[in-house]
């Protein structure tokens, strides 16, 4: 009996040991199924030229302020980017976008072409580079506001979406002679942007050099990587006349799931109101700042919060007073800030959210909310986008909050919905 019990225990323990040893090693059902799957056909990438071409169509409806009726919104766009190697070390880049928008933006043509980039680039040994032509030189880690992006003003001919990433995609480059030298943990670059025209053009098909090259400008940038977790940039900017500025930015990996960024500038230039008024523009020395955090949480959700400050903007009380005394000037002031991709408010906040594979593979959510601390107006924008192999379909919803005397309340369409379809060739 005792022997029988012992034998059963030996048998049981042997089975347990064999079982535990074997179970993880010998793949069961789910692994077997996975191992029977075969790869898609291999397509070796082309080297040499690079072409990105897509067409996009959008239809939607927008509700105007004060029950003034609805607008039928339509847009067709062709977006083209071509990169061609010309000889060892040499390449040419051409990037263009054509938008037909109905109804057009205030003062703009129905059809607007944006010649974003057209330049020649030369590299010597991968560490020294020279660009000549219209180049999109964009700086700053901020999501919604980039104080160190010194070439941003007047660079946007059309606004096709409220997503700041789209603004970056659609903007005009600046004609420059740009040189850069890179080393292991850093780089230095110098850009000179000459004056080529007087003022922005209202002609939709004009290359609009007057928007980006209406004065002589220079920018010196020093970038360095202090460690794997910390990198920064120092910038010095000067333009013809007494206007100048210095800037700095940094990004840091705070933890496995958090990155932080900050960028700021101190400059001597006219205030936003002075620019709106034109004529004699007294200069002032003020700061701009953007700082934020991006947190990634389980389920492919990324949340970014950003604080924005513009010392050149009107204080809340002055903005409100302007609205009471000169509403049309207040509207022009907001328009000036928008054209310069500057803040109309002294203080503002941005929340930016992305969620990949929202309940369905390749269904992505992007949402943003902007809060204007000066007048408590706000703007919300949500996009649900589904990717197929060469085709995207997106639903975009937007809404503003705030009356006519607020910055976001001045956008004529206060609520809208759009369906956007894109085809990639």
């Amino acid at each position: 009996m005792i022997l029988g019990t012992f034998a059963r225990h030996v048998l049981l323990s042997t089975l347990v040991m064999v079982g535990f040893a074997a179970a993880p090693a010998l793949a069961g059902g789910p692994d077997d199924e996975a191992l029977s799957l075969g790869s898609a056909p291999v397509q070796s990438p082309q080297t040499g030229s690079e072409l990105r071409l897509f067409v996009e169509g959008a239809i939607g409806i927008g509700e105007l302020h004060d029950n003034a009726g609805n607008q039928f919104l339509r847009r067709v766009s062709i977006d083209f980017r071509y990169l061609a190697p010309l000889a060892p070390g040499w390449r040419a880049v051409f990037s263009d976008r054509l938008d037909a928008i109905k109804p057009p933006d205030l003062g703009a043509d129905t059809v607007t072409n944006s010649l974003r980039e057209a330049y020649l680039s030369w590299q010597a040994g991968g560490s020294t580079l020279v660009d000549v032509g219209r180049v999109n030189l964009r700086y700053g880690p901020g999501y919604g506001y980039n104080p160190t992006d010194f070439f941003r003003d007047n660079s946007l001919r059309t606004i096709t979406s409220l997503d700041p990433l789209t603004w970056r995609e659609n903007r005009l480059g600046t004609v420059v002679i740009h040189g850069q030298h890179l080393w292991k943990d850093g780089s230095v670059s110098l850009a000179f942007s000459p004056r080529l025209d007087d003022a922005p053009s209202q002609n939709g098909l004009n290359p609009d050099l007057g928007a980006t090259n209406n004065r002589n400008r220079g920018l010196l940038v020093l970038s360095t990587r202090f460690s794997e977790r910390l990198s920064g940039q120092l910038l010095a900017y000067e333009e013809s006349g007494p206007q100048a500025g210095v800037g700095a930015s940094g990004t840091v990996l705070v933890s496995d799931a958090i990155t932080a960024f900050v960028e700021g500038m101190r400059g001597r230039e006219p205030s936003v109101l002075s620019r709106t008024l034109g004529a004699a523009q007294p200069l002032m020395t003020r700061n701009r700042l953007a700082a934020g955090l991006t947190v990634t949480v389980a389920g492919s959700l990324s949340l970014t919060g950003e604080y924005e400050y513009n010392g050149f903007a009107l204080a809340a009380a002055d903005f409100a007073a302007l609205g009471r005394s000169q509403p049309s000037l207040q509207t022009a002031y907001v328009q000036t800030a928008l054209q310069r991709q500057d803040l109309a408010s002294r203080h503002a906040w941005l929340v930016y959210v992305t969620q990949k594979d929202l309940g369905l593979k390749n269904l992505n959510l992007t949402a943003l909310a902007r809060f204007n601390a000066g007048d408590n107006s706000w703007l919300g924008w949500v996009e649900l986008r589904h990717h197929w192999d060469q085709f995207d379909l997106a639903l975009q919803l937007q809404q503003q909050g705030g009356d006519d005397a607020t910055a976001y309340g001045k956008i004529p369409v206060w609520r809208s919905g759009r369906l956007v379809a894109s085809y990639f060739f």
């Binding site: 225990h9 049981l12 323990s13 040991m17 535990f20 090693a25 010998l26 793949a27 789910p30 692994d31 077997d32 996975a34 191992l35 799957l37 075969g38 790869s39 898609a40 056909p41 291999v42 397509q43 070796s44 990438p45 080297t47 690079e50 990105r52 990169l83 190697p85 390449r91 590299q123 991968g126 560490s127 580079l129 030189l137 964009r138 990433l165 970056r168 850069q180 890179l182 292991k184 850093g186 780089s187 970038s223 990587r225 794997e228 977790r229 990198s231 840091v252 990996l253 705070v254 933890s255 496995d256 799931a257 958090i258 990155t259 990949k356 593979k361 390749n362 060469q390 990639f424 060739f425």
Partner: protein, 256 residues
Amino acid sequence: MKASLIIFVALALRQGLAVAGPAAQDVLAASDAIRNPGRSFSVTVTLTEFQAGKQVDTSTLTSYARAQEQGGQFASLIRFVLPARDAGKLMLKNGNDLWFYDPATKASVRLSPQQRLMGQASNGDVVTVNMAKDYRATLLDEEEVQDGERRKRKAYKLSLAATASDVTYPSIEIWIDAENNQPLKARFFAESGRLLKTAYYRRFQQQLGAERPTETVIIDGLNPQSVTLLRFSDYSARPVPETWLHRDYLPRFQPE
């Protein structure tokens, strides 16, 4: 009660006693050398994603990997080739210095390791990570395991514990062929002990001077119905300059 005690003892024995055999760290290093060419190289990666056995997505990347002098890890610059929507986008990984660059927006964005895990590029880590440099290996067992081609292979089972705090996977279990050190299967765990991924290395072919796996099957730990196949082709030994691994170079990168 007695049965429970015996189970406990059996488990304790299994977890506590290292199996006599070759030095685990040496086996792991030999296996690393099979997965990774010991020099800078480029390779085309074709990713095929499946849900419940149905193909739901494909993409193609080119990975340029540089063996770093310090730490012995690879730094990589990944260029998206297909689908057309993503063509030209770049992902830089130099330790924890992670950047994503989109040529359309001209924006270089610093990523956290968790953000990078959201994308398919992170699956490449399962393949190129140099485990012997960042993990302490313990030989748990010598056992028969089913490989990626569903054949039984005699393998060393190693338990790997991270020696660095900034690795993507704090612990790994890996099965390595006892005869030729080929990696066969690995299970990647989170800090909590949760299984994140299971990888099978298969289709061993002569590439850059050694028999290397040219396909990896990755099974999601949370959702085993989610499977990604990585096919490696066009292996090429090539210099990858250090300046390529700087975020300021990303707008300049041109495939050769």
